[in-house]
């Protein structure tokens, strides 16, 4: 029975929820914990897999593994770091399985960017194109480099956290990140460069005025 004096689950820290779920078998605490992190888990999976179906499977499997492994979680690291580690490992496995039959890029099935609806249509197109180019460039990285870049640049993890999540040394993290950044910049430059076709497709100023 719920303790009438205990704070709502939403007010508890991750560490408190972990304690309740692990030590008291509190299912509501576990559900609250998973609900709190589900979007982040899904997004990391999506950005590594670049495929929404795989990302859904990865997130779902990660939550089940969290429940299975919770009795052994000693809280030496933050719950989020531990979850990132599980999600990243599962996502990298999914990418490896998928390699023979690459799915279409997530495109990035990320939907409309909140706040862009009010933008000038030309800016919205520009934003969408930039995102498509970034997605394509990310797809050119190795899965390990992509994971490293996503966790660092999008999720904002520090080198030490990255080393823990990826189970490598900090020097290794720096190496991967350096290469990921270099290759991503190069790939992005290729996608950003106007092709002859696209240049030809742009009508010269004044064209169409005669119609």
């Amino acid at each position: 029975m719920a303790d009438r004096f205990s704070p709502p689950l939403a007010d508890l820290t991750d560490a408190d929820l972990v304690l309740r779920a692990r030590d008291r078998g509190d299912n509501a605490a576990l559900e609250a914990l998973l609900r709190r992190h589900r979007d982040a888990a899904y997004r990391v999976a999506l950005r590594i897999c670049l495929n929404s179906a795989d990302a859904e499977d990865v997130a779902q499997e990660a939550f089940v593994r969290v429940w299975r492994a919770l009795p052994n979680f000693r809280a030496d690291s933050a719950f989020s770091t531990w979850l990132y580690r599980i999600v990243t490992n599962l996502a990298l496995n999914a990418v490896t399985r998928r390699r023979e039959q690459p799915a279409e890029l997530a495109q990035i099935e990320m939907g409309e960017t909140p706040g862009t609806a009010e933008l000038d249509p030309a800016l919205r197109v520009q934003h969408r194109e930039r995102l498509a180019a970034l997605t394509a460039a990310l797809a050119e990285l190795t899965p390990q480099q992509r994971a490293c870049w996503v966790l660092r640049e999008v999720e904002g993890l520090h080198y030490e956290e990255l080393a823990e999540v990826l189970d490598v040394t900090v020097a290794s993290v720096k190496g991967r990140l350096f290469r990921a950044r270099t290759e991503l910049a190069a790939a992005l430059a290729r996608y950003d460069a106007p092709t002859d076709e696209s240049a030809a497709a742009v009508p010269p100023p004044g064209a169409g005025d005669e119609a």
Binding site: A41, A59, Q60, V64, G111, E153, S172
Partner: protein, 83 residues
């Protein structure tokens, strides 16, 4: 190629402004598109957890019952043979 190939890689926080700003911008671009996990992901995960929990409970209960039967069996058999 080894991951630890270059000892001169910039330390975290070191000034590499051009690269930093490009990747910060790209990271922000991806963050700006923040899809939520479909509700079905959470629901399915919880269903699987409940199912596994039930199976665990049942197997523990059955295991406990079996253990009691097995441990009581020698006494029961000797009791019968003595009758």
């Amino acid at each position: 190629m080894s991951d630890d190939f270059d000892p001169d890689l910039p330390e975290e926080g070191a000034d590499d402004s051009a690269a930093d700003s490009l990747h910060a911008e790209l990271g922000a671009l991806l963050r700006s598109v923040a899809p939520a996990a479909p509700e079905v992901v959470h629901r399915r995960a919880l269903s699987r957890i409940r199912l596994e929990r039930e199976v665990l409970l049942i197997s523990r209960t059955l295991g406990g019952a079996l253990f009691r039967v097995v441990t009581a069996l020698p006494d029961y058999l000797s009791h019968r043979s003595n009758r």
